[in-house]
């Protein structure tokens, strides 16, 4: 089975856009298809892993079609790939289909939003280490903050499909309803993004301004919920992805409660493959008081929250 192993390693693959559309404000969904070796490489992706997309070949829209605040930014001649995690990866007819949920925030994502079905981009991946699901847990709590949603969605699906004995509760937070990177039910309550209910999972929503769901930080919503939770800390695990402040506060809470917590970190990346040492995440080294930098792309992006010294 040596051949098999070699073929499944990460690589640079051509991916074809199947669909790509802006569905709400600056948020877009894109599906990509990889065949052959690419499909094999992406077959075994775990939630939290990511890929680096080369968007330099994509066209730029007319300035009028670009939000005013991005017009200067998009004139930069881009060079580097961009990291994206997946909201789902599946195999259909021997091809890997990758779903990406993304926000248009700058020079590369503006170009990305202009990709059309049939267009091809170069994808480097899969990269990094995803979430680890310890089979003996009984409760998994998923926390998604803002654009941290995609890998959490991916994880929710994997848990629903393959870990029937683990109960899953999901929390999603954002500044306001408009900043939720998915559709929210018009009941303005804790009924979640399109995908989550599909997986039959419980979902709670929090917004800073109360425009949907709980009014306040998602970590505060989670904290209150936890007080009513009947599972033992030992049987529980928390998975988070979102802004660093949110990860830090979830980590602190979990540490206090003795709950295992995995956080997916984000850093500016030049390579995504461990070559450049650009994506440093400061991590403690036991009780020595010393710290080292680990690489977000290679050692992460998912870390045990107790290791990370958050950069706030």
């Amino acid at each position: 089975m040596k051949k098999d192993l070699v073929q499944r390693k990460k690589g640079v693959f051509a991916a074809r856009i199947i669909s790509n559309h802006q569905f709400k404000g600056r948020f877009c969904r894109m599906s990509l298809e990889l065949a052959g070796l690419g499909a094999e490489a992406f077959e075994t992706v775990t939630p939290g892993q990511f890929a680096e997309f080369d968007l330099t070949c994509a066209s730029l829209p007319s300035p009028e079609d670009v939000p005013v605040e991005l017009r200067d930014a998009i004139e930069r001649k881009i060079l580097l790939r961009r990291p994206f995690s997946f909201s789902d990866v599946r195999i259909e007819d021997g091809r890997a289909i990758i779903d990406v949920l993304y926000a248009v925030v700058g020079a590369a994502t503006v170009r990305m939003a202009g990709l059309k079905p049939g267009d091809e981009i170069s994808v480097l991946g899969p990269l990094g280490n995803g979430f680890t699901i310890p089979v003996k847990k009984k409760l998994a709590i998923l926390l998604a903050g803002g654009m941290g949603a995609p890998p959490i969605q991916h994880l929710a699906k994997v848990l629903a499909a393959g870990f029937k004995n683990i109960e899953v509760v999901t929390f999603a937070g954002a500044k306001s309803s408009d900043d939720m990177p998915f559709a929210v039910s018009d009941k303005n309550t804790a009924i979640g993004p399109a995908e989550f209910p599909d997986y039959g999972l419980e979902m709670l929503i929090a917004t800073d301004d109360g425009s949907t769901g709980y009014k306040g930080l998602v970590t505060e919503c989670f904290r209150q919920w936890l007080q009513t939770c009947e599972h033992k800390a030992d049987d529980t695990i928390v998975f988070c992805c979102g802004p660093e402040a949110m990860l830090a506060s979830a980590a602190k809470l979990c540490e206090a409660e003795g709950i295992e917590c995995q956080v997916s970190m984000e850093r500016r990346m030049a390579c995504g493959t461990g070559l450049c040492q650009g994506c440093a995440v400061e991590c403690g080294t036991g009780n020595s008081g010393q710290s080292v930098y680990q690489m977000c792309c290679k050692d992460g992006p998912v870390f045990d929250s107790k290791e990370v010294i958050f950069d706030l």
Partner: protein, 310 residues
């Protein structure tokens, strides 16, 4: 029709499989790149800068993209001499490419100590003396801008390098790079590599803060290529052509065509830096592309390209 082209080169006495290196700080410890290409077709492999003691490097953000380029302020993050010998030498031993260790430090004694220790390692073909890193408070680029200092550090490290090849890496940010090159050659350099990154800065206008935690960083990537080509050509014409010292040319190389520009300008070999991040198999594609170019243009030996500019 396909003429056989000899793409092996003699580089300061080393016989290399091809004139293509990967540049310090952009190619990990080789295992990362091995996922993407056959690294044995590389002529040379240069490690991230190694210092005597481990260095954590700078806080984050350490990198930011600029027009056709990027800034980095990694800050010579590395595992230090001891761990390097223990953990990385066994990996590097398996490679057929010539291994160069990039050596950095804050004092001359540190450079000497690291070099002397590593000179004992059979896996190592040579050293690249980094007197041109813009991202550390002490040492780094400061060593690289004063001719007398460059000569002295080269002499000292040369002694420590024993029979290994000593390559000196020059900073581009000087008034006259030939003066510095001359000093390195006078100090006993077996080869020169140029260029390192250009000191630069990016500002986040919304936050009114420097993007990099270190404020300044080194500019690399395609943006710098025309300056690097000029500097290689200048040093070749004014210094190394007559002394026969080879130049490793780098700075903004994207593909074979860029690599050939460097060779025509006077480089004997080239190194790929930033583009490893974008196309991790590109170094080998460049090896092939240079061979193709020689074939198409009737060169039977790749070294004929060096300085072949009209």
């Amino acid at each position: 029709m396909k003429k056989d082209v000899n793409i092996t080169i003699d580089f300061a006495g080393l016989k290399l499989a091809s004139p293509v290196f990967t540049a310090s700080g952009t190619c990990g410890y080789a295992d990362e790149l091995a996922d993407f290409m056959d690294i044995n077709a590389l002529g040379g492999f240069i490690t991230k800068s190694i210092t005597l003691l481990p260095r954590k490097g700078n806080p984050t953000p350490r990198v930011v993209e600029t027009d056709a380029g990027m800034l980095n302020a990694i800050g010579l993050a590395n595992i230090g001499l001891e761990q390097f010998i223990k953990e990385k030498i066994p990996l590097l031993e398996k490679m057929s490419a010539a291994i160069f260790v990039n050596v950095a430090g804050q004092k001359i004694e540190e450079y000497v100590q690291v070099t002397a220790e590593l000179a004992k390692q059979p896996a190592i073909a040579g050293f690249e003396l980094n007197i041109s890193c813009p991202n550390v408070a002490k040492g780094g680029v400061h060593f690289g801008t004063d001719p007398a200092g460059v000569r002295r550090i080269t002499e000292e490290v040369k002694k420590a390098a024993a029979d290994k090849v000593l390559m000196v890496k020059l900073t581009p940010s000087v008034t006259d790079i030939s003066v510095i090159a001359e000093a390195a050659v006078a100090g006993g350099a077996d080869a020169l590599s140029l260029v390192n990154t250009f000191t630069a800065m990016a500002i986040d206008t919304e936050k009114r803060r420097c993007v990099l935690a270190n404020r300044t960083g080194g500019l690399s990537g395609p943006a710098i290529k025309p300056m690097a080509i000029y500097l290689v050509n200048k040093v070749y014409n004014e210094v190394t052509k007559k002394s026969g010292i080879p130049i490793l040319g780098l700075g903004g190389i994207k593909n074979a065509s860029d690599a050939i520009e460097f060779m025509l300008a006077g480089a004997s070999a080239v190194a790929l830096g930033t583009y490893n991040f974008i196309q991790p198999a590109r170094a080998i594609e460049i090896v092939d592309g240079i061979g193709e170019y020689c074939r198409r243009n009737g060169f039977d030996n790749v070294h004929q390209l060096t300085g072949a500019l009209e």
